[in-house]
Amino acid sequence: MSEAGIGRPIDRVDGALKVTGRAQFAAEFAPSGLAYAVVVQSSVPSGRFRVDTSEARRRPGVLAVLSYENAPALPQKGRAAINPPAGRTLSLLQDDAIHYNGEPIGVVVAETFEQAVDAATAVVVSYSKTAAQLDFEKAKSSAYRPEKLTRGPADLSWGDVDAGLRETEARIDRIYTTPMEHHNPMEPHATIAQWEGDRLTLHDATQGVSGVRQTVAKIFGISADNVRVIDPFVGGGFGCKGSAWSHVVLAAMAAKEVGRPVKLVLSRPQMFGPVGGRPQTEQRIVLGARRDGRLTLVRHDVISHTSFMEDFAEPSSQPTRALYACPNGATTQRLVQLNVGVPTFQRAPGESTGTFATECAMDELAYELGIDPLELRLRNYAEVEPSSGKQWSSKRLRECYRVAAERFGWSRRNPKPRSMRDGRSLIGWGMGTATYPAHRMPASASAHLLRDGTAIVRSGTQDLGTGTYTVMTQIAAETLGLPVERVRFELGDTAFPAAPVSGGSMTAASVGPAVQNACSALREKIIAFAIRDTASPLRGIDAREVAIENGWILSRRGKPRREPLSAFAARQTETLEAAGEAKPDKEEEQFASRSFGAVFAEVRIDEQTGVLRVLRIVATYSVGRLMNAKTALSQLQGGIVWGVSQALFEQSVLDTRYGRFVNGNLAEYHVPVNADIQKIDVTFIDENDTVFNPLGARGIGEIGITAVAAVLANAAYHATGNRVRDLPITLDKLM
């Protein structure tokens, strides 16, 4: 076992680069001759428009003003690459139709950013408005069933709900609602586009360089081989950078138009609309149970909004399909179309919104039955996936409940609402189950031994700030038998072996095994060379008896023989390299794979003003094997912070007269500040899910946000006796 040790809590290998400002993000590349583009947006939600760009063109420094009147015609009117998640329905200046307020309708290119912004204000747009559909409540009557969810069917039933009803002794039937939200990673979307002939290079803030390449190539009708996408560092994504949105193509279009590299960075207000967001949901949950708490039926009917441009369903019913043992279940998903931008995946799509409903509903059922909420969950523990009957590849939720409950002190809870006080404040304790499915996709990697004895390992994956650089370096170092300092992992470039989008919590489980395979292959190659190398002390030994450990190539049996790998490498005339791939196999598909966790929280609520403070959150997770205990902790803590945000703060408020978000900036779109976050205690159950993949990891990027909103709502109920079923839980709902 080398120093690298998969799982060890080493510091981020890119940490120093980031804190010293040397990590180069997409907008920070500076090709010579760079021009600047800004997007012009519609200010009405529906209709057609005419544009007068004459004044804008006269402004100083302006190089081009593009609109549907003069933009180059794209194959299939720009619709050639619609293939979510990477390829969405975009706004590419191909016609005069407006689908939402804030839709890109033009691009101004100038010598400087300031000149481009100035000229954009001089573009005169006249609208002929048509009636827009903006009111979710009114649109509900025309809800329809989407063809399918991203994963799984729109409607899924098992058992017989009507039969379940006959056995039901207690029942709750409730509606839970969650608002529109927008991702707002620290780094806004940014693209630098540069053409050399018909070859295009994009520096793009993205969660998926390969997806951007495929999408942009198809839209322009060029070969993907002619498009290179580079993004070594991403300042957060959370789903909105999982697709190539309009501005990416518009930047490339502008660069072609002016014959120079063009940079296009979205402003913060432009992050509210053209680059996705979390759909609004209305979720009806029916739970039936016997007096002893065992579930007899579960219904979860979800309505979420989408755009008129494209169907995207927030799969909030997913947790119900997997969370609790219940013989009879029915889940449905419906969509309503609104004149807003296309919504998309946002951290823990489905589970973030869905667990708010399921975990509040279980709490309500617990009160209905007079059973402790934790005990109710244990009585309905799902030993197999309830909707499919599949065995779990690994599941240790029971231990999560036990460990977290003990750390929290749950057994001391008086279940009666308003029973716990601290002076003028009410204290509330709540709990719930966190969950997120585990997925993996095909990925590939390469490994190279340089003549100085260090290794470079590459994969066209991304690091969203999660720690991909670090954990892949650890996997590579351990597999190669090198200290971690002697391995450099490179990513974020379509010139590297292809890897999937960094989304769905699947990077570790997808790319990790590919890196492992590439490094195993390189190690075998090194050993094969060494035993044939006349200058090597290992010459002639059986390959099976040779190992590489901590930078030494050595014999494992017989007379001790060894030399530094660097000495071996120095004798090579060329770089040794190997490739590796990994993909899910059929055997895995026979199992259900999912991560779980138990989350407990204590809140303090001012009885007079309704001001809620989260005093502590205690959570224990079963997420498979950890690749790095330190970055894993950060992922889960960060996820929980976002859960607090979802619970208490976030909502994009749509003015239904104009179709425009009134709080489209970070002053008024609230996320937690440091003062909102107090103690967060995260622990993990030791686990190794090798049925799911050879590395044993299940992914940790999203589960942290799940259940937290429900846990805080449950705690708020316990404190006040007031059940809030509509997020966010603002003080006016608790007064």
Binding site: Q608, T609, D655, R657, Y658, V662, E668, V673, M735
Partner: protein, 328 residues
């Protein structure tokens, strides 16, 4: 932002002279003005940078009061020994506002001059805003108005003034000294900001080109019993849904003098004399507190989304009075 000419001055007279060009604006900390310029809400043609004027001092006045120069930074004012000792209410209000970074830049004069945070004022894509463009209407009145006024609004405008500092100043009977082309005048804080009426584009009663020189605080008897209570949607870096500056002078058990001023509820700091009269001459107890709290909100006229502010304000007044009076 729109291009502008820039003039930096180091004399007060030069500043006032420099603002003679139409479309001139004084620039101090810039924490609000620059944002508004970037958003094309403010489009000054000339910026007169006053940061070098000698107005950054906190001075003791002969009567026991304190003069705060217009360019004293919010964080310096909040932490100045004279302010902390004699006007802890003001120190609390400063520290309740914005973030440390903003307070390090924002000036006292600029704090008085900050504009509303009304969503519809800030985003020029909303065409209707009488405050931004007179005569265009008010998108907030029938729009999302959770953060808007419950007192003193008009058909033309329902915006609130966002300052915490000004609420405390109103409780402390501050006087704003201003200088313009025709000389110096002193404006009591209660007359500094305006109600929107038919001219919501005017936030204050400053005349064109007038420059804030200082804020004078008279000697105060409230230092021992005051409290600034700010209620907002998150623990820091958020504007008040409702705030209350409560100050009591109760030398012998009964209340000799009191100030109750609400923030976040009107186009200006909202002093409620009627509530004050419920307390003066009485002992501070749950009965008098409750009477004052009820009186505080009698005139409230909530909008669609902000009715909760009426009850919140009532409770906040009671809580602030309890805190000021040391009633636990």
């Amino acid at each position: 932002m729109r291009s502008f000419t820039y003039l930096r001055v180091d004399q007060i007279d030069a500043a006032i002279n420099g603002s003679s060009a139409p479309g001139s604006k004084y620039l101090a900390g810039g924490t609000n003005l620059l944002d508004l310029m970037k958003g094309y809400v403010e489009q000054p043609e000339r910026i007169v940078d006053i940061n070098r004027l000698p107005l950054a001092q906190v001075l003791e006045l002969p009567d026991g009061g304190v003069r705060i120069g217009a360019l004293v930074r919010n964080s310096d004012a909040a932490n100045h020994p004279l302010i902390r000792e004699r006007y802890p209410l003001l120190s609390q209000a400063f520290l309740a506002g914005a973030s440390p970074q903003l307070r390090n830049m924002a000036s006292v004069g600029g704090n008085l001059m900050q504009r509303t945070r009304c969503f519809y004022f800030y985003d020029t894509a909303f065409a209707a805003c009488n405050k931004r463009v007179p005569g265009t209407g008010c998108a907030a009145r029938e729009g999302f108005n959770r953060i808007h006024a419950i007192f003193g609004a008009s058909e033309r405008c329902v915006a609130t003034h966002p300052s915490d500092m000004a609420v405390a100043l109103a409780a402390l009977d501050a006087v704003v000294e201003v200088r313009g082309p025709t000389g110096t005048r002193r404006i009591p804080i209660g007359e500094f900001h305006r109600l929107p009426g038919t001219t919501p584009e005017r936030d204050t009663n400053l005349q064109p080109r007038e420059l804030i020189i200082a804020v004078d605080l008279p000697r105060s008897r409230f230092a021992a019993h005051s409290h600034y209570l700010k209620i907002r949607d998150r623990a820091s870096y958020a504007f008040a849904l409702v705030s209350v500056a409560a100050a009591l002078d109760q030398p012998g058990g009964s209340v000799r003098d009191v100030r109750i001023v609400l923030g976040g509820v009107a186009h200006k700091p909202w002093r409620v004399d009627k509530a004050e009269r419920e307390i003066v001459g009485r002992r501070l107890n749950e009965a008098s507190i409750s009477a004052a709290a009820r009186a505080s909100v009698e005139a409230a006229q909530p909008l669609r989304d902000n009715a909760f502010k009426v009850e919140l304000a009532r409770r906040a007044v009671a809580q602030a009075l309890r805190n000021a009076g040391g009633i636990t």
